[in-house]
Amino acid sequence: MSLVPTPSQTVGPFYGYALPFPGGAEVAPVGHPDLITVHGYVYDGAGQPVPDALLETWQPAPDGSRGGAPGSMRRDPVTGRIVGRDGVTFTGFGRIATDADGHYAVRTLPPGGVPYLCVLVFARGLLHHLYTRAYLRAEEDALLSAVPAERRGTLLAVEERPGTYRFDIRLQGPGETVFLDFG
């Protein structure tokens, strides 16, 4: 059986009270010594920052396991509010809205077994989300070796100082980020 997929539609401008959640960017357990920060800006085709993009990140745990874990948006049963992660479990999932400057930052742990974080981009104006990867090391793999050399740099996060990586996303134009199609 092969069913026809439901079409995508834009996330629109008004998801802000619904999708972002407290602690969405805090993927690493509290106080973990291996914490890394990945941050950057999302730009449009005119080089302007995009203040209404929503990014999601997904990655293996440091031990390489890919099953994730529930609890990214853990709830308080008394008030119904989101109390966030439990500070111990690594769920592997992050969700971060860009701020008014088009900036985002996610604090997580190094992915096990692969050199990259999976990044998903939603935005007002984007009718169908986009996948990319933030490579923390320039380690050749199936994707990096398939990307033309002159565009490979758009997938490489720059280590600004130990544990802090800069990864900008350009939706269009010069230096346009490499986006992916999984078929």
Binding site: M1, S2, L3, P5, T6, P7, S8, Q9, T10, V11, G12, P13, F14, Y15, G16, Y17, A18, L19, D44, G45, A46, V50, W58, Q59, P60, G67, G68, P70, G71, S72, M73, R74, R75, G80, T91, G92, C118, L120, R124, G125, L126, L127, H128, H129, L130, Y131, D141, A142, L143, V147, L171, Q172, E176, T177, V178, F179, L180, D181, F182, G183
Partner: protein, 255 residues
């Protein structure tokens, strides 16, 4: 390089916009998803890549797995958007239900479904929404649920209103619910919008019309289902969702 269309100017009339939509649709095949560059949706102009996407067919790709959610991530009340405040929201109470499956028709079990929407007057609980329609103190317009073992989701809410936006002169969005869905793989992620049957604004909405194939557009429209309506309580709609994208299990079956 893909073809780069010139951006559309400000101040187009609805008739001009409808003609632009028809022009683009005439030149497209039966694609499932909207093209990311769709000039009639003017916000798309600077926000879509012009380089082709790079295909990834790696069975070891991390994207073939995906995040997990569970009972701790939702409360039982989250699926009822009419019970999040002290009083009842204004509007026509509805229930919306359906099944979430993958392309092979297998149910997406115990995964997160998120819904957000405008209130009955067509206004969002977002401070940047300045449409001069009343906010409803008894309605926020956001809900969550987990699918069951058959892939079913269900929400109780109110029917949202249509609202104006500034894409062109006299632009109005048909009433719609925003949905966010997770599959078993990150590749199956979907954000989309559900519409209500028979809305006269369909033909004039560049966001819905960005899905250029009529049969694909029809899959964004729920069916009114009288059997789902609850006597003296709510009107029922059915909307099934099929997630695109491969998953690790698909790759395994292919071997």
């Amino acid at each position: 390089m893909t073809h780069v269309a010139a951006p559309l100017p400000d101040g187009l009339s609805q008739e001009q916009m409808d003609a632009e939509v028809a022009k683009v649709q005439a030149g497209t095949d039966g694609a499932v998803h909207p093209p990311r560059g769709f000039p009639p949706y003017r916000s798309s102009t600077l926000r879509h890549p012009r380089q082709p996407l790079i295909p990834v067919r790696d069975p070891e790709a991390v994207e073939l797995s995906g995040p997990a959610f569970g009972l701790t991530d939702v409360t039982a009340l989250d699926r009822d958007l009419t019970r999040q405040h002290a009083g009842e929201p204004l509007g026509e109470r509805i229930t919306v239900t359906g099944r979430v499956t993958d392309r092979q028709g297998r149910p997406i079990r115990r995964q997160l479904v998120e819904l957000w929407q405008a209130n009955a007057s067509g206004r969002y609980a977002h401070q940047l929404d300045q449409h001069p329609a009343p906010l409803d103190p008894n309605f926020t317009g956001f809900g969550r649920c987990l699918t069951d073992d058959e892939g079913r989701y269900s929400f109780t809410t109110i029917k949202p209103g249509a609202y104006p936006w500034r894409n062109h002169v006299n632009a109005w969005r048909p009433a719609h619910l925003h949905f966010s869905l997770f599959g078993t793989a990150f590749t199956q992620r979907l954000v989309t919008q559900m519409y209500f049957p028979g809305d006269p604004l369909f033909a004039h909405d560049p966001v819905l019309q960005s899905v250029t194939d009529p049969a694909a557009r029809a899959r964004l429209v729920a069916a009114y289902d009288h059997g789902l309506s609850v006597p003296e309580w709510s009107l029922g709609y059915r909307w099934d969702i099929v997630l695109d994208g491969p998953s690790a299990t698909l790759f395994e079956e292919d071997r």
